[in-house]
């Protein structure tokens, strides 16, 4: 199905249920779907598992979602940052669970979910606390750890341009987790800087094919106050 194209952030995130696993794109602020996260907070959805590289910084975005008490568990590679005070407090108070995953495993485990891989043997983390209790096996003289896919009920990502078929392009290092998360969730919601007509994106430069896009939030229309 071609994606729904909407200009109302609340409409974009409507239907995200309590207890969902939500994949949230971005690395630092690059590629962070801030408009969708704000709408998710307004939606009231709670008991969420959030999968994202970081666990929020400052008081906005993911940090605000955490502060609002909507997150049961965070799966991320790097929760502790100089300005991750919201997460730090909730974690120390036992208000939020944490699964720390090496960044490459985070990406590859979501890629596996999107690609139909049941599990994979991975070279990262062997002999470290993050592999404790996990199955290991030797192939060709090297030891690997068995890792399982991470899939989402919903992915919230940001892209640069999207056409009305949902084909997406990204910009510079804001690409990061977006293309992987788009494949790993049952429903992918994308905020884009601009929506263009079908045919306006060169088929050779599409990064996320439209098959992965379910809802497209047109930020240009949001700025204009809807359309």
């Amino acid at each position: 199905m071609s994606p729904r194209v909407v200009s109302d952030p609340d409409e974009a995130v409507a239907g995200i249920e309590d207890s969902s696993t939500v994949l949230v794109g971005g690395f630092g602020m690059a590629g962070m779907p801030v408009t969708l996260i704000d709408a998710l907070i307004r939606s009231g959805a709670s008991d969420l598992t959030v999968v994202s590289n970081n666990a929020g910084n400052g008081d906005t975005g993911l940090a605000a979602l955490l502060a609002a008490g909507r997150v049961r568990k965070v799966i991320c590679s790097f929760p502790r940052q100089s300005d991750s005070w919201v997460f730090d407090r909730l974690y120390r108070e036992g208000q939020v669970e944490l699964e720390v995953v090496p960044q490459g495993n985070l990406a590859e485990r979501m890629r596996a979910a999107g690609a139909g891989i049941g599990a994979f043997f991975c070279p990262t983390g062997v002999g470290t606390p993050l592999a404790e209790g996990k199955e290991t096996r030797e192939f060709n003289g090297r030891i690997y750890v068995l890792e399982l896919p991470i899939s989402g009920d919903v992915a919230l990502i940001a892209a640069h341009t999207g056409d009305r078929m949902g084909n997406l392009t990204y910009r510079k290092t804001a690409r990061n987790f977006g293309p992987v998360m788009a494949t790993a969730a049952r429903r992918t919601i994308v905020e884009v800087g601009r929506v263009v007509e079908i045919g306006a994106i060169d088929p050779e430069v599409v990064v996320t094919p439209g098959i992965y896009t379910d809802t497209l939030l047109d930020l240009a229309a949001v700025r204009k106050g809807g359309s």
């Binding site: 199905m1 071609s2 890629r111 979910a113 999107g114 690609a115 139909g116 891989i117 056409d163 009305r164 078929m165 084909n167 494949t183 079908i198 045919g199 994106i201 088929p203 050779e204 599409v206 094919p209 439209g210 098959i211 992965y212």
Partner: protein, 221 residues
């Protein structure tokens, strides 16, 4: 649900089969059409159906076969036939293309078959004949890679042996993967609960049941 018996006509030809399948593909579906007869389905998808065709050699929104000066050696389908590109197309490499398929992102895949079992097992890659050179291509990936797998085939071989069977005797392509079988004489649902006839063409249900060695659900003798 009662079975519709079309007795005022003969069995369906391949174009009628293709049209029937095209009619059952939901609006806006992402679809892969297997090599051979399934490609005929494309001709019957009406404009505005919003159906997007995937070809496993790395493309979404494939257009019709290329004609004359449209032919471009860099733009072919999985059957290696020159095709065209529709607006909104995208290209990707083989690993991404099969990840798309195996990850369950396609809605419908239409395949030919040597045999389909009442439980949806598919045999379509190898006759098992001694000395035959095995060649699987993307068949096993297609079989397990779409939300719905439709088979398009004649119900009987040239020797009048049924191709819908209780258990496949040819080497399997996939287990329990087919949901619907479109044949000249009838359309079937298959799966864990067994086979069920939806429609017949040019044959009465009772006659059909006699010619098959398969228990047909919902068919009362």
């Amino acid at each position: 649900m009662s079975v519709v018996e079309h007795l005022d006509r003969g069995p369906r030809d391949k174009n009628e089969l293709a049209a029937a399948i095209a009619g059952d593909i939901p609006h806006g579906a992402y679809v892969n059409l297997g090599i051979g007869q399934p490609t005929l389905v494309a001709d019957h998808l009406v404009a505005g159906s919003g159906v997007v065709l995937h070809t496993e050699n790395g493309m979404l929104n494939m257009g019709p076969a290329a004609r004359n000066d449209e032919v471009d050696p860099d733009l072919i389908n999985a059957g290696k036939i020159p095709v065209t590109e529709l607006p909104g197309a995208s290209y990707f490499h083989h690993a991404d293309s099969f990840a798309m398929m195996r990850g369950g992102h396609l809605d419908v895949c239409v395949l030919g078959a040597f045999q389909v079992s009442e439980h949806g097992d598919l045999a379509n890659w190898h006759t098992g004949a001694p000395g035959a050179i095995p060649a699987v291509g993307g068949a096993m990936d297609l079989a397990i890679g779409a939300k719905s797998v439709f088979v398009m085939m004649t119900l009987f071989t040239k020797d009048r042996i049924p191709k819908l069977v209780s258990a496949c005797t040819y080497p399997l392509t996939g287990l329990g993967c087919v949901s619907r079988v479109y044949t000249d004489y009838a359309t079937f649902e298959v799966g864990a609960a067994g086979a069920r006839v939806l429609e017949t063409f040019g044959i009465a249900l009772t006659d059909l049941a006699e010619r098959l060695d398969v228990e047909l659900r919902g068919h009362v003798d």
